[in-house]
């Protein structure tokens, strides 16, 4: 038999035994293709220019991101393949004792990996191409565009990219695993794997101590994440504490497991003793892999549930910050590039008329406002995370004009009062501002003292903007601003009625609009429209959602694979053990029960802790999100749960089924 034939036979055999390995390779390749082909999907869609540019950006982002993902997938393949090789050490040992040369054995290994690679590459690409057709529909829905007619999308470049990336991964796999077998002593190959790991599980007292420490670490990291320390503690410390806590938790758990072995009433019942020993014989590998799996699951759950939640919240926030159809903001740039340089105030409507721009052609209502410099009037405000506000003065009549255009109730001020308007509404800022207002916030302007109070705090958005607005606006009586320098001029525009033709007229008339002030400053304008903001919102939702799902699914597959492979790699030892139990008279129900318990513990323990982690993680994300508008956790959590049930649960069942089949074949082979 030639090496190629031998390798092919082994692959066929592995196909039966190692469904999980192929599942992982195929999944990995499929996901990689689907996400990397997003750029090509726009061919079937009718996209606006901003949507098209978002797609380009998304494509690039995913491209960069894929580098990171491919590193993870590569590790996964090496890990999975390593187990495959480990399991077959004995077979390789046999080839060597039969006088085969190391080179020949290596060749078999190379050929096997290549065959498996080719098959899974083909399967993964086919699956990916099929799935990406459905993905076009999802993309279209997220971007809010229609697909005119169904067209088949085949991303040739992505196919090539996938092949290149995964060939590299297979090459690395070969490099590591062939090397591994090449270095092994014959004796190690033949007697591979029939020995218990030296037990490093801690003794009961120590385990209790470690458990306390673990709980402490986890509690500290949750507390920092959620509690008052949020502003102060760096994310790195929280992550380090969380990871350490997780490791210690499973380490202590292994100790408790061993202690359970002393409780005779539990231990000497049914096959409990056997199951416990199954776990303890691999205890060192178990707690390390459970830690890794738990952390990967945590990342996966968090990205799947809060990723989408964040995307939605961002979208909601952005829609919120489009109170008019459009705004034009005029400002001067300083010589060294600084923004919002002080200048003599200008009436933009008048300036536009002078330049021959007919604002009424696209604006049903329009109002110009001057935002004056407020430097030194009040102390600078700083947020919890060190973010600085931009201070402006706005006259009461300009402010009320803006409110009127938004259909909001107007503000009235006494002669010695001023109001504070700040767009963001979260609890932290409210606290800072209320505290400030309660002190009276005395300032001197136009030769008199002005004071404010908590009843004069407002939270309106005054401009159309695609980013978080930290403008702090002091609204003052009209007569107090005369003679001050302006920072920016803003024109609020509402179209006569909604319609793309006004949008086009507006953009055509105002883009590139410039004004020279009385003191010689060059003001340049920038227009932002509600339509742009809404597009941008939809696009960022899509972008974040894609990245979240991509990362979430990859981590989910990775964690499930690590577990599944770990379990199945013990299959040959397990077959031997379970068929002995069968001979001793344990029936199918007992055997399947023992196997199920064993696999359930491996899959369940990390998931449970990861869920606890995730509650903390998601709450923290939710807390951050409430600052900019809040997010709906429920819907996205259901989605995350669905993914977990589908992928993680699928792997669990696949592992149990193939384990059961392997065992059954082992003990049924004698009966016919």
């Amino acid at each position: 038999m030639t090496s190629a034939e031998l390798a092919l036979r082994n692959v066929r055999k592995s196909f039966r035994d190692y469904a999980v390995y192929f599942m992982t390779l195929t999944f990995g390749i499929c996901i990689f293709y689907v996400f990397n082909s997003i750029g090509s999907q726009q061919a079937v869609m009718d996209l606006s220019s901003s949507q098209a540019s978002t797609m380009k950006m998304l494509d690039r982002l995913i491209g960069d991101f894929s580098l990171f993902i491919s590193v993870i997938l590569c590790f996964l393949i090496i890990y999975a393949n390593g187990f495959l090789v480990k399991r077959r050490k004995k077979e390789f040992g046999l080839y060597l004792t039969l006088g085969m040369e190391r080179r020949q054995v290596s060749r078999i290994l190379v050929l096997e990996t290549v065959f498996m690679g080719l098959i899974s590459l083909a399967a993964g690409l086919l699956l990916g191409i099929a799935l990406s057709q459905g993905m076009s529909l999802v993309t279209a829905a997220l971007l809010g565009v229609k697909i005119d007619a169904f067209r088949f999308v085949f991303a040739f470049g992505t196919v090539a990219k996938t092949i290149v990336y995964f060939s590299a991964a297979f090459a690395l796999t070969l490099f590591f695993n062939v090397l591994k077998v090449g270095r092994q002593q014959l004796i190690d190959l033949i007697y591979a794997g029939r020995r218990n790991e030296t037990n490093r599980a801690p003794r009961p007292f120590l385990a209790a101590l470690i458990f306390t420490l673990a709980v402490f670490c986890l509690a500290a990291s949750y507390f920092m994440l959620l509690g008052d320390l949020l502003g102060g503690a760096s994310l790195n410390i929280i992550i380090a504490l969380g990871a350490a806590g997780t490791f210690l938790f499973f380490f202590a758990l292994s100790g408790f497991l061993m202690q359970a072995a002393r409780r005779k009433s539990l231990y000497l019942k049914n096959l409990n003793m056997f199951v416990l020993r199954q776990l303890s014989s691999k205890i060192n590998t178990a707690y390390v892999s459970m830690t890794i799996v738990c952390l990967m699951l945590f990342i996966s759950i968090c990205t799947l549930s809060s990723g989408l939640g964040i995307a939605r919240a961002v979208a909601a926030e952005l829609r919120f910050s489009a109170p008019y159809d459009a705004t034009l903001v005029m400002s001067a740039t300083g010589e060294s590039g600084e923004d919002y340089v002080n200048h003599a105030p200008v009436d933009i409507l008048a300036a536009a008329r002078d330049k021959g721009v007919d604002v009424s052609s696209f604006a049903g209502v329009s109002k110009a406002a001057v935002f004056y410099d407020a430097e030194g009037l009040v102390p600078p405000f700083t947020g919890r995370n060190g973010e600085k506000t931009l201070l402006y003065l706005l006259s009461l009549s300009d402010y009320n004009a803006a409110l009127a255009m938004q259909g909001l109730p107007l503000l009235s001020l006494g002669a010695n009062e001023y109001a504070v308007n700040f767009g963001a509404t979260n609890a932290d800022w409210s606290k800072i501002l209320t505290q400030y207002a309660d002190t009276g916030g005395s300032l001197t302007l136009g030769g008199r003292e002005l004071r404010t109070n908590a009843a004069l705090l407002r939270h309106h958005v005054l401009e159309v903007r695609t980013h978080l607005n930290l403008d702090m606006i002091l609204v003052v009586p009209d007569d107090t601003v005369s003679g001050r320098q302006a920072k920016k001029e803003v024109l609020f525009i509402n179209y006569p009625q909604s319609g793309l033709e006004y949008e086009q007229l507006c953009l055509g008339a105002l883009s590139g609009f410039t004004v020279t002030t009385a003191d010689g400053a060059e003001l340049s304008g920038s227009v932002e429209t509600r339509i742009q903001v809404n597009d941008y919102a939809a696009n960022s939702t899509a972008t974040i959602a894609y990245l979240a799902i991509y990362m979430g699914v990859v981590f989910l597959v990775a964690s499930a694979t690590v577990l599944a492979i770990g379990q199945l790699s013990e299959a040959s030892d397990n077959c031997h053990r379970y068929s002995l139990l069968h001979k001793l008279g344990a029936d199918d129900k007992m055997l399947n029960g023992a196997l199920f318990t064993q696999i359930l513990i491996y899959f369940g323990a990390p998931l449970l802790l990861a869920l606890v982690h995730s509650v903390a993680g998601i709450s923290a994300a939710g807390k951050i999100m409430t600052r900019i508008g809040g997010m709906n956790i429920l819907g996205t959590s259901i989605l995350a749960a669905l993914f977990i049930i589908l992928i993680y649960g699928g792997y669990f069942l696949a592992t149990y089924w193939s384990g059961r089949n392997m065992i059954k074949t082992a003990y049924d082979s004698r009966r016919r």
């Binding site: 029939r194 020995r195 218990n196 005779k264 009433s265 231990y267 000497l268 019942k269 049914n270 096959l271 409990n272 003793m273 056997f274 020993r277 199954q278 303890s280 014989s281 030892d573 053990r577 002995l580 139990l581 069968h582 001979k583 001793l584 008279g585 344990a586 029936d587 199918d588 007992m590 004698r670 009966r671 016919r672």
Partner: protein, 255 residues
């Protein structure tokens, strides 16, 4: 004396019409309670097949096997599993201990599969361990024991449930002569003091000489039967050698 095992016209065929192997070709025999029966034969004569069929691990093509008056050839899988754990004890040539379990746990396993109350388990394990002289290795793992100790642990596992019939396939096959002798003596001891019934397959005349009675098989058929009666072990051994040479062909290759 009660008959524990009654095998009638056992037939086991492998392969198809063109290429038929008659591993068992109409063998009938019986085992009485408290008997130590040996089964001998050349390699390929059907010894292991016979034992596997009796032990319900393999099924017959035709024939009947009654153990404790129950016909095992008509039982389903679940009944067979139950039958095995309640009525049979196994001793294998390669010990077949679980490498993840200590000696104590390996022996206790047979009782936990039987769902015996946990309180009684410890005392029963230490009792059989004392009988087989393995009390001081109870906390060791299989890889920390010698071959002889492992086989005695396996024997302890087989007898701890007080089975109606103990089945042993070449139990001394992997042991040196000193350990083999010790094991066979403990078998003798079990039969004498605890009334155990043992069916032992062996290719080794020395091991066989410890039996009360020996059946010889050739090509799947019963060839001859020897009863020790009141003879000394030495005399019995010589008789066995005689029959073995009669078995013919390569009489020395008796595996």
């Amino acid at each position: 004396m009660a008959t524990i095992l009654q095998a009638k016209n056992m037939e086991k065929y492998y392969g198809n019409k063109n290429n038929l192997t008659k591993a068992l070709d109409g063998i009938s025999f019986s085992v009485e309670a408290g008997e130590f029966l040996g089964v001998m034969g050349a390699s390929g004569s059907g010894k292991t097949t016979l034992l596997n069929c009796v032990s319900t691990i393999d099924s017959l093509t035709a024939g009947q096997i009654l153990i404790d008056d129950r016909d095992i050839t008509t039982m389903n899988q679940k009944m067979l599993a139950r039958f095995r754990r309640e009525k049979l004890g196994f001793i294998f040539q390669d010990f077949n201990l679980l490498d993840t379990l200590t000696a104590f746990e390996n022996i206790a396993l047979a009782l936990t599969i039987l769902k015996k109350p946990t309180k009684t388990i410890e005392s029963r394990v230490s009792e059989v361990a004392a009988v087989l002289g393995i009390t001081d290795v109870l906390d060791k793992y299989p890889y920390q024991m010698s071959g002889g100790q492992r086989q005695r642990v396996a024997s302890a596992r087989a007898i701890v449930t007080q089975p109606a019939l103990i089945l042993a396939d070449e139990p001394t096959g992997a042991l040196d002569s000193k350990s083999a002798r010790a094991l066979l003596e403990s078998f003798q001891n079990l039969v004498r003091t605890r009334g155990a019934t043992i069916l032992m397959v062996t290719h080794d005349a020395f091991s066989a000489s410890y039996c009360h009675r020996i059946i010889f098989i050739r090509d799947g058929r019963l060839f001859q039967e020897l009863v020790r009666g009141s003879e000394s072990r030495r005399e019995f051994f010589d008789k066995i050698i005689e029959v073995v040479s009669l078995l013919g062909g390569d009489g020395n290759d008796l595996r």
